[in-house]
């Protein structure tokens, strides 16, 4: 609002070029992809070779009364199409309609002998000959069919917002996501298993309603969120391709993700208690529910058991509370205190279930364990600004986590951290951080219901005593708004030295360099380079006594990217290029045994693009994209459908592609 004492009688805004009326653009063109690759097209919808149309459009309308409409259409001809409509009267109401497709191409190299892929029942072809091992399945090769594994999410969202008063805003969002396709799963009969196609036919409906009240001193928001998940398939059953281990073990059944709901009421508030002090609070109370009818314990007619209940009756009540006080005590000193509470209270009844292992054998009855968690966390921190160039921060955190039905009832962790930010005389911004944390478990006791029981020496790493040291140093230099050079090193080390079996140590280090420069008025350059090493040690005990084997995992990823942008012909022609190289190596060593071959991935991706302005309202865009990818993965390389005697595999190949894509389009602006 304009204060009364300000004279705006001569504020004519005659140079203000307010946008009015209709404007927009559309692009039409053609693209082509040289080769089919589900890995190249994993998420970008370009998984098929051949030509595809390019069709994008944007429309804008601006009225005099703050009424507006935005329309955006993108990738109209691909499985990644997007439609966004957003309109209303700014400051009063807003309506939105969005449609987005997300495609996930998983694999096109899989094969299976099963029929009915994509449905909830997989059957073997007529004439199938059971065998004790894959090598004896005489009809396997002849029965194989090629598969494409792919899922597609189609999201439709409607949104509305209404501002009844300048201090209030209300909003509603309704979203439906339909997810269809198929993905990998496996099913087994005791130790004989097969890779299976699991149908994906999900609908998730979400609702978000909120009201916000905002004044200068006090802001509050109350929101209700609901998410209702429906799976149109409750189970996946499949024929046993092996000789049944017991009579009647001819068909197996997996439970597929059950229908479930989550409802949550959330209240957030912020109150400016004084110019220096602010209080924030957030409370969220929710409930997860799942009450799907239980399947039979077995499809084996000779293995019938009575269940203690007919449906899952699963329920978890969730509560999170966050309180925070932030106070600037002086120009130099800022202090903060925060308390966090998170409770995951699993109310699912715990009962004894007679069960059948893999539709084959009767097993000793087991009790389902509903896991509950409660976190209490206190954070205290302070920043002290010694000068305009130097700020020191330090903090302390105390966190208690309680669990039910697990080996450790309570872990307690104390952390101390410090951070120094400093601008040196040559205008380099330095940031140095360090953290030390120690976590102690209240006592490690085996869970009686686990059968067979764990090694007495096992310490699960999320429950175990741990000492964490972390630190980082970074330097960044900004000679001007558009140029930057920064370097950073981050490292973290987790030491589980009290764990004799399980994870005993893990650490990671990241080096990153990043820069962007304006080389001249028409040329800019950006680049990045990084190395990441993630390493861990673990121990096992196959003699079920002392630790007798020790493993090392080391993943190293190197990445490098460089890009150049250049403007020519009075900025009418823009040329650019981007190159990214990534090399990843995964090493696994088990002490005193032969080395595993390295897991390797190489990615090279190169993009050239050009944009030429033919006329004021017309631009030609062209892009050339070359991407090469290869990988070595001992878990998949040369593993055919029948390589393993007791797993019928998909016989998939490790992705290896070299794809070129060319796209040319004409953009018309009006």
């Amino acid at each position: 609002d304009i204060p009364e004492d300000v004279d705006t009688s001569r504020w004519n805004c005659k140079n203000c070029e307010f946008e009015e009326g209709l404007s927009g653009s559309f692009s039409l063109g053609l693209g082509t992809v040289s080769d089919e690759s589900f890995k190249f097209g994993e998420y970008n919808a370009l998984y098929q070779d051949g030509a595809f149309p390019i069709a994008d459009a944007e429309l804008r309308y601006r009225g005099e009364e703050a009424d507006y409409l935005n329309l955006k259409l993108q990738d109209l001809a691909l499985d990644s199409r997007v439609l966004e409509i957003d309109g209303g009267q700014q400051g009063n109401y807003r309506l939105m309609l969005n449609y987005q497709q997300l495609s996930h191409a998983i694999s096109n190299s899989a094969q299976t002998p099963y029929r009915g892929s994509g449905s909830d029942t997989l059957v073997l072809p007529a004439g199938w000959v059971d065998a004790g091992a894959t090598s004896g399945m005489t009809q396997l090769d002849a029965s194989l069919r090629d598969l494409e594994l792919k899922t597609q999410r189609n999201r439709l969202e409607f949104g509305a917002a209404y501002i009844p008063h300048s201090e209030w805003e209300t909003a509603l969002k309704v979203r439906q996501e339909i997810r269809e396709g198929s993905k990998r799963s496996t099913g087994s009969f005791f130790f004989n298993s097969a890779q299976l196609i699991e149908p994906v036919d999900y609908v998730t409906n979400e609702l978000d309603v909120s009201a916000t009240y905002t004044t200068r001193e006090w802001q509050s928001r109350v929101a209700y969120y609901a998410s209702v998940f429906t799976n149109h398939n409750e189970s996946l059953s499949w024929d046993n391709a092996y000789n049944p281990l017991t009579a009647g073990a001819d068909e197996g059944q997996l439970a597929l993700p059950p229908d479930n709901q989550f409802h949550q009421l959330q209240f957030s508030t912020g109150y400016q208690m004084s110019r220096a002090t602010r209080f924030n609070a957030e409370l969220a109370v929710g409930r997860m529910e799942q009450d799907e009818d239980l399947l039979a314990a077995s499809l084996n007619p000779n293995r019938v058991v009575l269940l203690p209940r007919t449906s899952a009756n699963a329920q978890v009540d969730t509560t999170t509370l966050n309180l925070q006080m932030n106070s600037r005590i002086s120009e130099q000193l800022n202090v903060k205190a925060a308390y966090r509470y998170n409770d995951h209270d699993n109310q699912t009844p715990s009962e004894l279930f007679d069960w059948i292992t893999t539709d084959t054998f009767s097993a000793v009855a087991r009790t389902n364990l509903p896991y509950s968690f409660t976190d209490n966390e206190l954070d205290l921190s302070a920043d002290y600004r010694f000068s305009q160039r130097t700020k020191l921060s330090a903090g302390y955190q105390h966190k208690i986590k309680q669990r039910t039905n697990q080996e450790v009832d309570e872990t307690s962790e104390d952390s101390l951290w410090g951070k120094l930010s400093y601008r040196s005389d040559n205008d380099i911004d330095w940031l140095i951080k360090a953290e030390h944390a120690q976590r102690d478990a209240s006592g490690y006791n085996l869970v009686a219901q686990t059968d067979p029981s764990q090694s007495l020496l096992m310490r699960k790493y999320n429950l175990a005593d741990r000492v964490r040291e972390a630190g980082s140093i970074s330097a960044s230099f900004n000679p001007n708004e558009s140029s930057t050079l920064s370097l950073s090193v981050d490292l973290a080390q987790d030491d589980y030295s009290d764990s004799l079996v399980g994870l005993t140590e893990s650490n990671e280090i990241h080096y990153n360099l990043d820069s962007s420069f304006i080389l001249s008025e028409s040329t800019s350059l950006h680049d990045f380079a990084g190395r990441e090493v993630i390493k861990s040690h673990q121990a096992g005990s196959q003699t079920f006594s002392v630790a007798d084997w020790f493993a090392l995992n080391r993943d190293t990823t190197d990445s490098f990217g460089v890009g150049l942008k250049h403007l020519l012909m009075e900025n009418k022609l823009e040329l650019g290029a981007d190159l990214v190289l990534m090399h990843a190596r995964g090493e696994i060593r088990i002490e005193n045994t032969a080395n595993f071959p390295d897991l390797e991935t190489n990615l090279e991706t190169l993009k050239f693009y050009a944009s030429y302005q033919l006329r004021e309202n017309m631009t030609v865009n062209a892009a050339y994209w070359y991407e090469r990818y290869d990988a070595k993965d001992w878990a998949l390389d040369n593993i055919d459908v029948d390589t393993l005697s007791s797993v019928i595999g998909f016989g998939e190949t490790v992705p290896d592609y070299s794809v070129q894509a060319l796209m040319v389009s004409l953009r018309y602006k009006f």
Binding site: R184, D429, S645, V647
Partner: protein, 312 residues
């Protein structure tokens, strides 16, 4: 990028600005046209320049709503300016009177810059800004947002990650790994999971807990299941890493070693699976293809009455 806070002289000189220009935006636009070093005309293609919406700068004090001596100055400075100087066209040889400007090279303290934005943008998802990690790291609103442009890159799903990568370089590298969420192709953006203006958790997530954030796209894994896998119910990040992994399904490491970090039961779970189980005379079903998941495929929990071992 975090900006060093420059407090020298700024507050006293700002306080010398004492009233508004005589002609409002026309004063500024005389110089700041498309040919100037700081062109601003694109502001008229943005929500801020909607004159009929009286909440916006151009429904009020125009350029000076944000840059000039506005009522917000009282909030920012603590004292209402008195009378005196007028912001007019700067003549040759004359020094520009100090004004509030924003961004990396601003001489104003970050807190003062942000207070100006918060004057209007303190509600809704910004309630938690103050005291948040970004605020605490002296990030100014203008570090991420561009105001004088019709399309602020950080609000564009495709362009947003590049804005975040300016500081979060490690994440840029992670999104080139073989297993990742689809940020590289613009299907997702950082803000699909993260609330950059502050949230309760340690990593600025959109939902109150990490698992709730994951379940907003992966509702099929939410359960609660009859037979729960304790780490899956507790924290997805015990097995998965969110940004990128060299292992399938964003796993932190390969099975069987991933599973053997917690499973040491007598029998096959505790056996060291060595390279001798690779292809050759005796390829191991415990090691190859899905390793443990060749049989225990229901690792997120099972609703089957016989699913206690995640095999049904």
């Amino acid at each position: 990028h975090a900006q060093q806070v420059e407090q020298v002289d700024t507050e006293p000189t700002l306080a010398t600005l004492q009233k508004y220009s005589e002609k409002g935006a026309d004063t500024c636009l005389k110089c700041h046209d498309e040919d100037s070093e700081f062109p601003v005309l694109n502001i008229f293609k943005t929500k801020h320049a909607m004159a009929a919406d009286t909440r916006t700068p151009f429904g009020g004090l125009q350029c000076e709503s944000c840059h000039g001596p506005a009522v917000n100055n009282e909030w920012m400075q603590g004292d209402q300016p008195e009378d005196g100087h007028t912001v007019n066209k700067v003549k040759d040889g004359e020094q520009r009177p100090p004004m509030l400007n924003f961004g990396l090279k601003s001489k104003q303290p970050v807190a003062a810059q942000n207070r100006m934005c918060l004057g209007c943008h303190q509600g809704n998802t910004h309630i938690g800004w103050q005291g948040s990690q970004h605020e605490n790291s002296d990030i100014s609103c203008a570090s991420c947002h561009k105001i004088h442009t019709p399309h602020d890159p950080v609000l564009d799903r495709v362009k947003q990650p590049e804005v975040c990568y300016q500081c979060h370089q490690q994440q840029r590298a992670e999104f080139y790994k073989p297993s990742t969420h689809p940020l590289r192709f613009g299907q997702l953006s950082c803000s699909d999971c993260h609330a950059s203006h502050g949230s309760a958790g340690s990593t600025l997530l959109n939902k109150p807990t990490l698992n709730q954030t994951c379940f907003s796209c992966h509702a099929e894994k939410r359960g609660p299941f009859l037979w729960e896998h304790a780490p899956a119910a507790e924290d997805c990040s015990l097995c998965h890493t969110p940004h990128g992994s060299i292992h399938p399904a964003l796993l932190k490491k390969r099975a069987p070693l991933l599973c053997q970090q917690c499973h040491s039961q007598r029998g096959h779970p505790s056996v060291a699976l060595t390279a001798s189980g690779l292809t050759g005379s005796n390829p191991s079903r415990l090691l190859l293809l899905g390793s443990c998941t060749n049989c225990h495929s229901q690792v997120h929990g099972s609703n089957h009455p016989s699913g206690v071992k995640m095999m049904r």
